[in-house]
């Protein structure tokens, strides 16, 4: 590989993944850079430092990439920007240095930021609901935005009564706080952009061109909360359906950022659609139709949805198969890959699923044995990407190296 120029490597990697997604047999099985915070573990950087020192985070990701050489790379975007999170005092996360130990993965905290009787308000004007209710509830320094005037009422003489709302000292303070966070996020995104450029120069494409969340999770994660939305399927199905229609349009907006990218992967974080949260009937009524409709809209824009499932989805495979062939990649976590291939083969590529516990506690031989099975079964005739089952925060380096090197060697299609 070393004789290839970075530009050649880059083109080869992009083509490899595009081939897999389109169900053409590629030159070999591609292997993703399957991490969340693993590069920092690998480089000996604590999570708290990685989230606070953007240059240090970039440096650690370079070390990871130089040593392991996966085909595609996430980069430091999953080391969330702690300084901006501090400025906003974001309520639905705990992170290292803010409620968690310095080297503990950041975690989401359940909260209800849209009450059951606010569905109509959200559906009527989601932007105003987010501005005046969701922002103040999510970010205490923005509490003043509770007085934010509804811009939809600014027309004709309405602008007079509208703008006067901005004279409120609380609103003004909230806007100053938001601006400070915005400036910090500008520094963070500059760092992310710098890293992506450096990776292109090394011949490595980015694993994502956009991030997205299924419509059900858009409503369920930071608006209603998990317990509430699950119960809403029975308690107020009509309200939920109306909100899901709005969320589907928001889903398409989130994902459309990937349009036009060289490798237009839209990484969709699927949370509550996995095995245990709801019945197949509920999945078919509340989850899948909206996700599918949204994905079809993304596919129309030339985007490749990558559905990243956080747990077993065996019972959802038949539904997953209802997409146009060669347009979607499913990252199926701990799902049985032989079954996944049997149902999705010829329809969608699948990615995964080396068990994280093997990467953490097994030997390189254990890893190679598992990867060989994957390549022989899931990888038969293409349509497969090697990856860990779920994103890595910890692993034995020799095991991860074995996964990547073995795939490059054994995963060649002849």
């Amino acid at each position: 590989m070393s004789e290839k120029s970075p530009a050649e490597l880059y083109a080869e990697r992009v083509k490899r993944v595009l081939d897999v997604a389109a169900l053409r047999v590629p030159d070999r099985v591609p292997v993703f850079g399957p991490y969340q915070l693993y590069p920092y573990t690998f480089a000996g950087v604590t999570f708290v430092d990685a989230m606070n020192d953007y240059a240090l985070a970039r440096e650690a990701c370079h070390k990871f990439q130089d040593y392991f050489q996966p085909d595609l790379d996430f980069g430091p975007i999953l080391a969330y920007p702690a300084p901006a999170m501090e400025l906003l005092d974001i309520k639905w996360f705990k992170w290292p240095g803010h409620g968690l130990d310095d080297n503990t993965m950041y975690q989401y905290i359940e909260s209800e930021n849209m009450t059951a009787d606010e569905y109509d308000e959200f559906v009527y004007d989601p932007s105003h609901f987010l501005m005046a209710k969701w922002l103040p509830r999510s970010f205490p320094p923005l509490q003043g935005l509770a007085g934010w005037p509804a811009v939809r009422t600014f027309m004709w003489f309405g602008w007079t009564g509208g703008f006067v709302g901005l004279a409120s000292p609380d609103v003004q303070q909230a806007l100053r706080n938001a601006a400070a966070a915005g400036e910090e996020l500008g520094r963070w995104f500059a760092s992310i952009g710098q890293y992506a450029g450096e990776m292109v120069a090394k011949g490595t494409p980015q694993l994502y061109a956009a991030f997205d969340w299924p419509p059900f999770d858009i409503i369920g994660d930071t608006l209603r909360g998990t317990r509430q939305i699950l119960a809403d399927m029975r308690r107020r199905p009509d309200k939920l359906h109306a909100a899901l229609e709005v969320a589907t349009r928001i889903f398409v907006e989130y994902g459309s950022g990937a349009a036009g990218a060289e490798l237009p992967l839209c990484w969709i974080w699927m949370h509550k659609g996995t095995r245990n949260f709801m019945s197949d009937a509920q999945f078919k009524e509340f989850y899948w139709p909206y996700l599918r409709q949204g994905m079809l809209a993304l596919i129309d824009k030339g985007i490749i949805p990558v559905v990243y499932c956080e747990a077993d989805v065996e019972s959802r495979l038949e539904d997953f198969a209802d997409v146009p062939p060669g347009k979607v990649i499913y990252h199926v976590s701990t799902t049985d890959m032989v079954k996944a291939k049997a149902v999705l083969g010829g329809i969608a590529a699948i990615a995964g699923n080396v068990p994280n516990v093997i990467l953490l506690s097994g030997t390189p031989d254990d890893v190679r044995e598992y990867c060989q099975k994957l390549i022989d079964t899931a990888g038969k005739d293409g349509g497969f990407i090697m990856d860990a089952a779920v994103m890595l925060d910890e692993a034995r380096p020799e095991n991860l190296k074995a996964m990547i090197d073995f795939t490059k060697e054994y995963g060649v299609y002849r």
């Binding site: 705990k94 968690l100 130990d101 503990t104 993965m105 975690q107 905290i109 359940e110 998990t226 317990r227 699950l230 119960a231 399927m233 029975r234 308690r235 996995t274 245990n276 949260f277 709801m278 019945s279 197949d280 509920q282 956080e310 747990a311 077993d312 976590s333 701990t334 068990p355 994280n356 516990v357 093997i358 953490l360 506690s361 089952a389 779920v390 890595l392 925060d393 910890e394």
Partner: protein, 211 residues
């Protein structure tokens, strides 16, 4: 009316169930009968969960109904009704560093309605806290929950701490969480892995069956 209340709860007719429970109490029905109906309904709910007719939404709603009925009954329970002897005691918690509680809560609820005494240590529970709880509460079973990959090592640390305190032989240990499996159970040194709340109840019953 008791049979009707059981059916109403098990069929997830939340409003109707509360009305019915209130009507029974107003008609002078023994409050204990109302509570018993809730428990019997949960057996049906558990069966439907096991047969994959019900999932988390129904367990959450059933939990809310039982709590609401409990609140209606409480003022009418003049003397603490004699509780039936529990099948056993379970200490439950999400391991250190991990703050996910939904799965653990559901397991705790299902154990509770299946007549286990549950000591819930909450989330982000350090190994020493599990050890102290085992010393104090003397449970039959310890349930370790974890969603993150860090939980593999934390569960291992916890089981080792239990071993070091000389308590490993006194308890059975089960683990659960989205990415857990039998390999993980072996790695952390637990006795078993359970994929869902009914599996947890079955494991606990199998270990305490002789009592």
């Amino acid at each position: 009316m008791k049979e009707q209340l059981i059916k109403t709860i098990a069929d997830m007719n939340e409003e109707e169930a509360l009305k019915l429970a209130q009507a029974m109490l107003d008609a002078g029905e023994d409050p204990q009968t109302v509570l018993d109906a809730g428990k019997e309904a949960m057996t049906l709910v558990g069966e439907r969960y096991e047969h994959k007719e019900f999932f988390l939404p129904e367990l959450i709603i059933a939990g809310d109904m039982l709590k609401a009925i409990g609140d209606l009954v409480k003022p009418k329970l003049l003397a603490q009704a004699a509780q039936s002897e529990p099948l056993g005691k379970v200490v439950l918690g999400t391991v250190a560093g991990d703050i996910h509680d939904l799965g653990k809560d559901i397991v705790g609820f299902m154990l509770d309605v299946n007549n286990f005494e549950v000591v819930d240590l909450g989330v982000d529970v350090a190994a020493e806290k599990f050890v102290r709880a085992i010393q104090d509460a003397k449970p039959d079973v310890v349930g370790l929950s974890g969603f993150l990959t860090l939980a593999f090592d934390q569960m291992k640390v916890t089981v080792e701490a239990i071993k070091e305190a000389g308590l490993r032989d006194r308890v059975k240990i089960m683990i659960g969480g989205a990415i857990m499996d039998d390999t993980a159970a072996q790695y952390v040194g637990a006795d078993a892995y359970g994929p869902d709340a009914t599996a947890a109840v079955k494991l606990a019953k199998s270990w305490t069956g002789g009592k």
